[in-house]
Amino acid sequence: MRWLLLKDLQILRRSPLQALLLVAYPVLIAVLVGFAISRSPEKPRIAFLNEVPSDTRVSVGGQQLPAAGVSDRICSRVECVDVKDRAQARDEVESGEVLAAVILPSDLVDKINSLGTLTPGVPRVEVLVNEEDPVKAQLVNERISTLLAQANLAIARRIATEGGHYLNLLVNGGNLRVIGQTVNILGLRATAQILGALEPALPPGPLRASLREVTGFATQARDNLNIAGPLIDRIAQPIVVKKEAVSGSSPPLEIFAIAVAATLTLAFVTVLLVAGSLALEREENAFSRLTRGLVSPLALLGEKVLLGMVVGLVVTLVMLAGMQLFVPLQWSRIGLWLLAILAGGGALAAAGAALGAAAREVRAVSLLAFMVTLPVAFLSLIPSGAVGSGLYDLVRIVTAIFPFKPALEAMTAALDSAGPGIGGPLAHLAILIVAYGLLARFALRRFAAV
């Protein structure tokens, strides 16, 4: 078997384009994925025009809040490109230099302040977008909606905090600064205590009864407003999310991305190489000569699977080493990496051997390998809930039959120290190695026939 393996490696070395692809492909994947996961998402470029006078303040219950915080908040989430006027904002959007333009009109704060009066206005933020590209338009709409929701939430929180502060003053008393003067507020709690202390001093009669009613009202108001305090706090964000993972434990995104890149590399290299190499034995007319007592068909299949595992291991390790430039990897887990790569490579190589034995011609094999591997890889990345339950069951069956998904699970488990164990995926891969090995052996029975 070793001489056949040596022969296949010699042939591989003599095919510069094939060898180059085998090296270049994983390096390219590593660089692309590395850049994608090592850089934070690009902030969208937004032209920003703030026409609100700098000394304008948002008034909440007589308190003045600085308005400048709104623009700071927006510009912390997008890359703001300052423009001097509306014409420039429009030009920037039309030319595609920016995704959109956000204009805060000069009367924005006045309109916000009017919300607390009997003649409330409607505060408006102006947005200019370029909708020539539907995908881009959708992206802008989602970004702007998110930004406005966040701005509204921030204002609501600020108002709720101020409201809660005044409510606390009303219930418990304290000092309030009004137009530079400090005013002492007695508060409902102290009021009820004072009135309660006065009541025994009054003679029984209507006046005492009235005082008791006033004392009761003050006490009820205190108690109810105490309850209202937390309610006001919740106005800003009435619904909170309590998240509990009932199944699975997702790995960090960058680990998952590396596992996907490594498994894709392993899949394409092993399936294409093994399927092509087996078909080449037939195209070179060597299969009949080899299996005429020199090598058994099973040994030939074993050699091809071994070839796929060896080359897949080298190429995938090269790719992981490339990823190290972008994301630190736990090289102490290399034992598990090797296990995952070898098991995944073995199952993928066995599938490649079955494809090669079935298709028999190198060109047909290459086409078939792509047509099978690529869709199955995409199907394997579909999460539950993304499609209907019936369709997802079908996806699960398909992805369980082909080795890509268990290879991905094994790779993820090997890379992620906090993830689930690697035993399940390895057992799955072992079953697939045997199953595809048998299929390939069966297909070889008609392999040499014209």
């Binding site: 001489w3 056949l4 040596l6 022969k7 010699q10 042939i11 003599r14 095919s15 070179e284 007319n285 060597a286 009949s288 000569r289 080899l290 005429r292 007592g293 020199l294 090598v295 040499a448």
Partner: protein
């Protein structure tokens, strides 16, 4: 090598219908017949690649070397690498020495480092045969070895094959070229539609053709042979 009553069917089609064959050491036997006569099927059964549905094959010691019609070698390897690989797979104790021996025998010692794909069809066929000889066969089976070769390459090939027979190797080859069979075969086995029509020396075949197709006796041997096949119902 002895084969008796060989029968092979593909579905309802009978590829061989009770064919007998015998060949002695150093003998050159040509199996001749039109396309679809069963030549490759017969050689595949003699080589052990295919099992017959009836009959048996025996050989008095030694291995059987098999040289398929199309060169069965790796075109991206060099001449030497091909021979070395198959010598190793044959389990030779000193595969390098065997490789040297075959390079000399095939007359390709100076081209040992050349990639096979860059060699002519004739030279590829010589390596193909040399690989078949690595098992040191008592019997060498060649399936249409001269197909695709020009006259000069054919002449060199037959010189090489005749040399093997001269050293005691039994050579059984198939061809649909009657003149080639007559020139190089010491005995001819005529097959048509899986049936053995004749087994004997070329002179006896000429006699049989004259006898059974007298109207074509004055024509060239190939034309007379075709008339003979028609007289025999093929």
């Amino acid at each position: 090598m002895r084969a008796r009553g060989l029968v092979k069917t593909y579905g309802s089609r009978e590829a061989l219908r009770g064919v007998d064959l015998a060949a002695d050491p150093g003998e050159l036997v040509a199996i001749i017949g039109p396309n679809g006569a069963g030549k490759t099927t017969l050689l595949s059964i003699l080589a052990g690649i295919m099992k017959p549905d009836g009959g048996d094959v025996g050989i008095d010691g030694g291995a059987v070397g098999w040289v398929p019609q199309q060169a069965a070698l790796y075109r991206r390897l060099t001449v030497e690498e091909n021979l070395l690989l198959f010598a190793r797979l044959e389990g030779h104790e000193d595969p390098r020495a065997s490789t040297e021996e075959m390079l000399e025998l095939a007359g390709l010692g100076e081209r040992r480092g050349e990639i096979v794909a860059r060699l002519s069809g004739g030279n590829q066929q010589r390596i193909n045969i040399a690989i078949g000889l690595l098992s040191r066969p008592a019997v060498l089976l060649l399936d249409e070895p001269s197909v695709g070769l020009d006259p000069r390459q054919r002449a060199r090939l037959w010189e090489f094959v005749s040399g093997l027979a001269g050293r005691g190797t039994t050579v059984i080859f198939s061809t649909h070229d009657i003149q080639e069979a007559e020139r190089y075969g010491r005995r001819l086995l005529v097959l048509a539609d899986g049936e053995s029509l004749f087994d004997g020396p070329a002179e006896e075949l000429r006699e049989a053709v004259r006898r059974e197709a007298p109207e074509a006796a004055d024509r060239d041997f190939e034309t007379a042979f075709v008339a003979y096949l028609q007289h025999r119902g093929h």
